[in-house]
Amino acid sequence: MHILIVEDEPVIRQEMKLLLENALYQATALEEFEDVAAEVLDIAPDLVLLDVNLPGEAGFDVCAKIRSASDVPIIFVTSRTDSMDELTGLMKGGDDYITKPFQAPILLAHIAAVLKRTVREEKELLRIAHKDVELDVARGCLIFRGQDVELTKNELKILHYLFLNKGKIVSRRNLIDYLWDNQVFIDDNTLSVNMTRIRAKLEQAGVHEFITTKRGLGYFI
């Protein structure tokens, strides 16, 4: 997925690019704002993040110009929180509208939602395997030697993060951050409780020493 960033503030531009790249998107940022619409059409990205206050032409007009030639999804990113602006943005053909300062996960969620709506996305990796254990994200369970281990929502999210970072040490703090970004708002103690439950479930299924605790550092699979 190729995302084009049209933002005149250099710091935000650079950080947004980094954020998108970390989220495994291909990101390009415009540096010149002479003829934005033409540039956008030239680059032909899968999605455009468009600032409303641009040095030359206003973002709304740029959007209208792009719309006259292309159906590329456009998300407005702006620090103006006026409802009229939002309405104007949607009327000019924008697909979504997000206000600064935004939460990084929320920006990513908006991007994912718009892409899902407009582009047929390739299926997310829904089954991850590590050692002999397979995590089925869609069904919410672990599979070990053909045997299913049912997981709760919290347990699934915890294991998902560990599986995504297999071979790396995952600190408790980062794990909690990830869980909060995914609508599981738990504290340190509850994480411990969940960890214990996961371990018990694994033991019961016959998987031993699957999750290692690195004292003072975090977890490791």
């Binding site: 409802s83 300062p101 703090r173 980062n174 609508q183």
Partner: protein
Amino acid sequence: MNEREMCAAGRLHPGEFLKDKIPVFLLQASGMMALCVFLWLTGYGKGGCVLILICRGLAAVVWTLAEYRNRKQYFSQMGQVLDKVDQRFLLGELMPPSFRLEDRMYREMIRKSNKSVIERIRRMEGEQQEYREYIESWVHEIKAPITSIALMCENDRNEGPQRADDERIRRIALENQKVENAVDMVLYYARSDEVYKDYAIRETDLQAVAEEAVLKNKYYLIQNQMQVEVDCAPGTVYTDGKWILFILNQLILNSAQYRARENPHIWITAEKYGHGVRLAVKDNGAGIQKEELPRIFEKGFTGTNGRCQNDKATGMGLYLCRKLCGKLGIGIRAESEYGRGAEVILDFPVSSFVQGDTVKERDI
């Protein structure tokens, strides 16, 4: 009846009117007496004198009655203008015309004095408007650096699983979030009087808004070992998500501020009631004393909690919440058991207009 009441109502009281005329009556009466005495002395007949007195008296009574009627009408017209016009300082322009010199002079003076009042009001309104616009543009300006800092923190944190300065970055992100909250407060305060200019009512998913509000305060809540449960399943309402986000943000911050020492918890739940949806933000924190409960939504009110635990309490958060709720037609109230927790409840009415299936789309 005192003078002020009499004037305010614009009613002309007959007694007061007569009292006003006493000098004229006295002058008339003494003049006539003198005339009669003079005529009588010059040998005029007694009957003739009485006839003159009666005619003159009658003329005076008729004249006074006519004047009373005329004046009464004039002032009642003015009183009506005062009652009906919402901007009473416009009286000068709206005074009924009168042929009397006095009335015209007063009118001219009132006009002049009103004009200066109006000019002054306009100037102040202009200044206030300019100030508000400046605040808004300032808020938008400051949001760019806040966004940059937030993104930098997010990216730095993502770079590696273990970094020595990880904790520092989190703390910067947390402080940055505090700046954002304070800036938001300024913006919404500046706008709270003109909500009507800035809202777009649409189908809003309370679950998503609540989750965003929690996420906004992620670092603060995690740092304080808090747990949050969000369960707003039947939570689709027609309102402006942006304002609700601000309100929920304030409520979450309050709950976090006065959290319990052990296992601090926040529950955000929604349920259907009657013709609407009821959203509750509940915590197991310090709670609110019973005597203080009715006052917590007042501007500048900082209860015992506010004063003891947090000397920075401004008493603005809940005040703004209630104000915004009022403008959005949402009921807000608080319940609490002191020492065991507090609960703030928002009642979203669903009007019959949007209950049917006709309004399905999210846009207005």
